[in-house]
Symmetry: C2
Subunit: 135 residues, 2 copies
């Protein structure tokens, strides 16, 4: 039997990754987003089906642009100082339903469908898996 | 008819304000919260009954202590550089159900009951009342 070629493997992996639906933000809406002194805005990620808050991360203007364009969540890592496409290596991809911005324009709410096990690198569905007062 | 005395008015106003239920965080849990260089941690406020994300604000260690102690949301205003008890003047009080912290400890999720019209100073129920792509 013939070994699958690199091209075939790539095609096969690629086939698993369905494309996101772009978010059509107007220039005025994008201009309403206020970035902090570090160039970042906080992004709350909420699951569409459960309304569970899954994680909080940060975007700069470029990460927000990539998120709108691809329909998947791109963030900017403050510690690693690089862009990351959520789920690119883990498979825990997030597909964007809608993006809202708050009254001050200094926070984003990203409603998504979560693929895979969850949003958290610990394996938990939500990063907020620890409550005060629970032991 | 006798004018109500200042004391009576105060008592009557005070009677409207039911006390919150304190959140019993352990020292270990409180120590897990990581504050930024500015001494602040981001707090996502989510409504218990609807799971709607209502607002995002910031707490320092003292604001979190007051929140846990009173069972109502205290924040630190970055612009005004002061503590504020949500709803103290507007009546839009928030009563805390539970507080979670994320895997990194650098974000809080506060589940609350919202009193009054909503969380937003614009009169909207949520501060996230504007969506990208909606005109």
């Amino acid at each position: 039997m013939t070994e699958p070629t690199a091209e075939l493997e790539e095609a096969s992996n690629g086939a698993d990754v369905r494309p996101g639906v772009p978010v059509m933000a107007t220039k005025e809406q994008l201009d309403s987003v206020k970035y902090g002194a570090d160039g970042l805005v906080v992004a709350i990620v909420q699951e569409a089906s459960t309304l569970e808050v899954l994680m909080v991360a940060y975007m700069d203007e470029e990460a927000l642009r990539r998120t709108c364009e691809s329909g998947r969540t791109w963030f900017y890592s403050r510690s690693r100082k690089e862009y990351w496409l959520k789920g690119e290596t883990s498979g825990e991809r997030q597909y964007v339903h809608e993006i809202s911005y708050d009254c001050d324009g200094d926070a984003l709410l990203i409603i998504i469908d979560q693929e895979g096990q969850g949003a958290c690198h610990t394996g938990n569905h939500s990063c907020f898996y620890r409550k005060f007062g629970q032991e």
